[in-house]
């Protein structure tokens, strides 16, 4: 586990809420309960199987393979009343962990009528009623502002709910990243920003578009803690995020976390690639977080090979059922463009994040 804290800008003397020392985080990571360890594993497997299925069904789906530890570690263990806004790459597992139905999610990826958006929105949209900020437009970065606003809503109502939002390394170059994080810092909003740093924006390596090396280094410019973590270590990610959530719940404001991982697949499922070296891909394939975590749990004696095989079978069956359900579902209803659902009526206000 590699965690390094960035408390940059110290010469300005203005870094607020500096993160607790490594020891606490190591302790946290080490003390993830056996049940949670297994749940993390199951969710990572589910993420892989589910996303692979979506990629097979939809060549324009965006593969999340290799990033499961980051995604699952980030969104596991939240309270149902917390609000999430997941990056467009691999959001379904985050939604599933909140209770979204797999068959409807897959239906969503196929634009079927059973999808949560009735085929209207991009496939990544999840059910709002589970306190999910939906992904409804394709412009990267904008959703950071919306998630920040959700955190404002939570702060405004009092209590200790938090928002967790993830986004890509490339997205951190959008002005909206800057404005949103600064706003959250100034208002000490209860929000955790997790950069799913997979090294690429489509064909561009991060080094081509980021001169600073570390996205966590940007935290210094907002006076908030910045943390860099091994995004292929699910427990490390989970510990770091939970620690940041703890600060947010306690009214200590936002944290910027960078989880370093790798996009093992193409940008989209049928991406021919060719813009990066096979050596690099192989090196990261070797560091695939899923077998790595399996080995770890095997070594810790939490699972054995037969249990692992059963787990995969169960998950595969679960996803197969979801796929079957989605495939059987009717296509989006062409008779219902929803002209009368463009504007909300009064009753709509009962909806939304609760």
């Amino acid at each position: 586990m590699t965690i390094s804290s960035t408390t940059a800008g110290s010469s300005s003397g203005a870094v607020h809420g500096a993160p607790a020392g490594e020891s606490i985080r190591d302790t946290l990571a080490a003390h993830v309960s056996p049940d949670d360890r297994l749940a993390l594993l199951r969710n990572m497997i589910l993420c892989r199987v589910l996303e692979r299925a979506c990629c097979e069904l939809n060549p324009r789906w965006f593969p999340a393979e290799g990033e499961e530890a980051t995604i699952v570690g980030t969104f596991y263990g939240l309270r149902p009343d917390d609000v999430i806004a997941a990056h467009y790459r691999g959001p379904f597992i985050a939604y599933a962990m909140r209770g979204a139905e797999l068959g409807r999610l897959v239906g969503q990826a196929l634009g079927k009528a059973n999808g949560y958006a009735k085929g209207r929105a991009l496939g990544f949209t999840g059910p709002v009623e589970l306190n999910i900020v939906p992904w409804v437009a394709g412009d990267l970065g904008t959703s950071l502002g919306v998630a920040t606003g959700a955190a404002l809503g939570l702060q405004y109502e009092g209590g200790d709910r938090v928002a967790v939002v993830s986004f890509g390394d490339g997205t951190s170059n959008r002005g909206d990243f800057h404005e949103a994080v600064n706003l959250a810092a100034v208002w000490k909003l209860p929000i955790v920003y997790v950069c799913q740093h997979n090294q690429y924006s489509i064909s561009l390596h991060a080094s081509q578009v980021l001169a600073c090396g570390s996205i966590a280094a940007r935290a210094a410019g907002y006076g908030i803690p910045g943390v860099s973590v091994d995004g292929n270590d699910v427990r490390a990610v989970h510990a770091v995020v939970q620690e940041a959530i703890g600060r947010a719940r306690a009214g200590e404001g936002p944290t910027l976390i960078e989880a370093c991982t790798y996009r093992l697949g193409g940008h989209w499922a049928s991406d021919p690639g060719g813009y990066r070296s096979p050596e690099e891909e192989n090196e990261w394939r070797r560091r695939d977080p899923l077998p790595g975590y399996e080995r770890q749990l095997l070594a810790e004696g939490l699972v054995d090979q037969p249990a692992l095989a059963r787990l995969w079978d169960e998950v595969r069956a679960q996803v197969a059922a979801a796929v079957a359900e989605a495939q059987a579902a009717p296509p989006a209803d062409e008779a219902d463009l929803g002209l009368d659902e463009v504007f909300a009526g009064e009753s709509a206000l009962a909806n939304g994040c609760k």
Binding site: A117, V136, G149, L152
Partner: protein, 326 residues
């Protein structure tokens, strides 16, 4: 209780104040809305009454501000976000057009975004930031767009906008701010959104106008009344969704239409209204539809240029004379 006379800006503030008293989920955010009382007094007194939690100062971060309103609205709050001047809307179009407008529809009705975005537009006493970009937003389904022209509507539409479960863009004309004073009803007064208003009845020609141009149209109507020409003036106080039925009914009566706004003529709201007339009222019209709007130059600063640039009463007068003589 007798009606009170307020300036336009006082009426706007009154509308916000009433709703903030009524509903604890309503809050205001923007630059300098607190101790300073807002640009041009646009939030005067609110900070004193409601304090920093409900009257929130923001950094110069228009996109994050509007995004914050969208997100807070998603969690059931009723934010009013202020973009100090409409000139700055190009810095936050993504939040307005791609998020606020889409969320309800795209979630199959599960999300809603009950927010108000207020902003100052048009030529004002200080001549700063006068851009009128409102037509852009009428092109985007999912947004309500309003531009009241009287203190009563300023108050009533503010109340309605805050209560509306949808994103409402509230354009406040700067000239009207301090220059116009009028009666406002007391209490719980909401002017329905989605309507245009006949401000003056007439039989010879219809002038549909927005904002300050409503007043210029009324002045033109007054002048022409003396010459025996009867002008009907419609205040297009709600630009989207557009209540064209009321305009069509007027055209059936007058057979002539003029559309007047301060924004550029090309591609402005007047194009939409004229096009609707050309489609739906073709056989009712006796004369070409004439649009009055700003000429195709960027908006100049110096007073003589600005005066020349701005469409005025005389432009409406000459448009009326044109359609009456063809």
């Amino acid at each position: 209780m007798p009606p009170r006379r307020l300036t336009f800006v006082e009426a706007l503030v009154e509308g916000m104040r009433g709703e903030m008293r009524r509903d604890p989920d309503v809050f205001l955010m923007g630059q300098d809305v607190g101790v300073m009382g807002g640009a041009m007094g646009g939030s005067k007194g609110l900070y004193d009454e409601f304090g920093p939690r409900r009257v929130r100062e923001t950094p110069i971060s228009e996109s994050a501000m509007v995004g914050a309103a969208v997100g807070a609205a998603l969690t059931g709050k009723r934010p009013i976000v202020e973009v100090s001047f409409g000139e700055f809307l190009p810095t936050c179009m993504n939040q307005i057009v791609l998020q606020a407008a889409n969320l309800h529809y795209m979630t199959a009705g599960k999300a809603s975004v009950p927010m108000v975005l207020r902003t100052r537009v048009g030529d004002g006493p200080y001549r700063g930031h006068p851009q009128c970009f409102e037509a852009w937003f009428t092109h985007v389904p999912g947004l309500k767009v309003v531009m009241p022209s009287t203190p009563a509507d300023g108050l009533g539409m503010m109340v309605a906008a805050i209560r509306d479960p949808n994103p409402v863009l509230f354009f406040e004309h700067m000239y009207l701010y301090h220059a116009i004073r009028g009666d406002v009803p007391d209490g719980d007064h909401a002017t329905p959104l989605g309507k245009v208003f006949v401000r003056r009845e007439g039989t010879d020609v219809t002038v549909a106008a927005t904002g300050w141009m409503v007043h210029k149209a009324l002045a033109a109507a007054e002048l022409l009344g003396g010459e025996g020409v009867s002008v009907e003036v419609i205040d297009v106080a709600c630009l989207a969704p557009l209540d064209f039925d009321t305009i069509a009914a007027s055209i059936r009566k007058t057979s002539r239409l003029i559309v007047a706004h301060e924004a550029w003529k090309v591609g402005g709201l007047g194009a939409e209204i004229a096009a609707e007339a050309a489609e739906r009222c073709f056989f009712d019209l006796d004369a070409p539809v004439v649009r009055v709007g700003a000429p195709q130059t960027p908006l100049p600063l110096a007073k003589p240029l600005r005066d020349r640039f701005l469409p005025g009463t005389h432009d409406i007068l000459s448009a009326i004379r044109t359609v009456l003589t063809t």
